[in-house]
């Protein structure tokens, strides 16, 4: 069966879009690699282990007419459109890419020790598995996401030794009263659990032999260079420096990209979430990191565009405000290049291929002038994760913003499954 719309990604953008499009009378497929709906933001506890959130139920209950294809990892999309996943191929007239984002990470000495998790990883353990990541936890990095992570861990019984926010200038957020109130709410919850919140500080090293036993926290200047340090004992570090949108599928289809205010590549879309490729839409973090509310509104906007109905004025205004706030967050929580001074010669930059900083410098010395040639000479980004973890760091070490990812294989696929792929692409209408 050929769908009118295939939505890839069942987070807030994908769920909202699939629900609205299906209720508008279209045949809709909603596909996600996870076995449960929700994506990262609306990640639900194991079935029966607790009540789903109201926001999640609101989105889920609108999906009754959409076909759900859960636990299906999409490894490639082709014009026409064919969506190839690990269980086969489905086809659709139009495509919405709502594949979300993952934590952006920076390398630092010891970041490969067990016990160091991304902030999103700690959150996924807690929300999706009811597992508290550790007993004594440090939360560090930059961005508003650190707050729910820290308060969630503290409320679940962990001792959160501190939140270390690298950014100095949070005052600008006061311009948005509603958001400031939300921030103050987190502040109250941190205070209730006696979690200290520090600005202008960062975890610059992790310690331990075979597992994390502590971290070095530094006061950093505005370019993130170390001013002074102290050690904090902990068994777990949850660290994240914002998010990297997952653009693989959009790039496969040749969708034009642009950049977030901080240089991150994102899919370029118009007001109807249309990409440069006719029939392909993008919504949520793939078009710029902006959070769940914006993602949902963009999903609705995409559904309206596909249905040919206008997005209600009220929603359009909300979307514009959410976008404006997202832009502000990019300004308030930038990543500064001073993290490069945290690296030692033997600090791994690429975790998969175990490429130390020294090898990156050697590659540059051998004539590698950009991220791609560094990769060709020193192998960062050549391993299992294909540069998803180290891509940002390698690009910045090369002095450039990360290029849009070119990954014709968006998820690993076994040779036998690839061999079984239809030798001829479905006909393009």
């Amino acid at each position: 069966m050929r769908y009118d719309l295939a939505v890839i990604g069942a987070g807030p953008a994908g769920m909202a879009a699939a629900g609205a499009a299906a209720r508008g009378g279209l045949r809709v497929a909603l596909i996600d690699g996870a076995p449960r709906l929700g994506g990262q933001f609306h990640r639900q506890p194991p079935p029966g282990a607790g009540p789903p959130s109201q926001d999640f139920l609101r989105l889920r209950d609108r999906l009754t007419r959409a076909d759900l294809h859960l636990g299906r990892r999409v490894w490639a999309v082709e014009p026409g459109f064919s969506v190839h996943h690990d269980g086969g191929t489905l086809t659709a007239e139009r495509l919405l890419i709502a594949t979300g984002a993952h934590d952006r990470v920076l390398p630092f000495p010891g970041w490969d020790l067990p016990g160091v998790l991304t902030a999103g990883g700690a959150q996924a353990l807690l929300k999706g598995n009811l597992v508290v990541a550790g007993r004594r936890i440090v939360v560090a990095g930059t961005g508003p996401f650190l707050l729910p992570v820290a308060t969630g861990l503290a409320a679940a019984g962990a001792r959160v030794a501190g939140v270390f926010e690298a950014s100095h200038r949070l005052g600008a957020l006061a311009r948005h009263p509603a958001r400031a109130v939300q921030g103050a709410g987190y502040g109250l919850r941190l205070a209730r659990h006696r979690v200290p919140y520090h600005r202008g500080q960062a975890v610059v090293a992790a310690h331990g032999d075979d597992a994390l036993t502590g971290v070095t926290v530094a006061d950093i200047d505005r370019d993130w260079r170390v001013l002074g340090t102290r050690e904090i004992a902990c068994d777990t570090l949850a660290v994240g420096y914002g998010f990297t949108p997952q653009l693989d599928l959009a790039v496969q289809l040749g969708c034009a990209t642009t950049r977030d205010p901080d240089g991150t590549p994102v899919v370029a879309v118009d007001a109807g979430q249309r990409t440069s490729v006719p029939g392909v839409y993008a919504a949520g973090e793939t078009t710029g990191v902006g959070g769940a509310e914006l993602a949902e509104l963009e999903g609705l906007a995409a559904a309206c565009a596909v249905l040919g109905t206008p997005l209600p004025e009220r929603l359009a205004r909300r979307r514009d405000r959410a976008r404006e706030f997202a832009r502000l967050l990019h300004e308030v929580f930038p990543v500064r290049d001073g993290w490069r001074t945290w690296l030692r010669d033997d600090t791994l930059v690429c975790r998969c291929e175990e490429v130390p900083y020294r090898d990156i410098e050697d590659a540059r010395d051998l004539g590698a002038t950009d991220a791609r040639s560094i990769k060709l000479l020193a192998r960062p980004g050549m391993g299992w994760c294909q540069g998803r973890m180290c891509g940002y760091a390698v690009a910045r070490l090369a002095g450039e913003d990360p290029p849009p990812p070119r990954r014709p294989i968006a998820q690993p696929i076994t040779l036998q499954d690839l061999a079984a792929h239809p030798r001829r692409s479905p006909d393009v209408p």
Binding site: G33, A122, A124, L125, V131
Partner: protein, 81 residues
């Protein structure tokens, strides 16, 4: 629904239904289950959402499984990859 067990290198690990293998191991205090190819260093969960591939292990003979994504099933035999 009550819990069940999986087996990690001969050791029983309790699982709450719906948990991933990675979450169950982590909750049982097992923080690493793989050693790296070059330096032989321990690895376990890092990104926790299927992106970094640090948490690979072998489940019932199937290698290269992301522990953070695979929902545990009763009786799963899990070994380092």
């Amino acid at each position: 629904m009550s819990g069940f067990e999986i087996v990690f290198s001969g050791r029983p690990i309790p699982v709450t239904p719906g948990q991933t293998i990675g979450a169950a191991l982590h909750a049982a205090g097992i923080r690493s289950w793989r050693t790296t190819r070059v330096n032989g260093r321990p690895r376990g969960l890092f990104c926790g959402i299927g992106v970094c591939f640090d948490c690979l292990l072998t489940v019932n003979g199937e290698s290269g499984v992301r522990a953070c994504l695979r929902v545990a099933a009763p009786g799963d035999e899990v070994t380092p990859s």
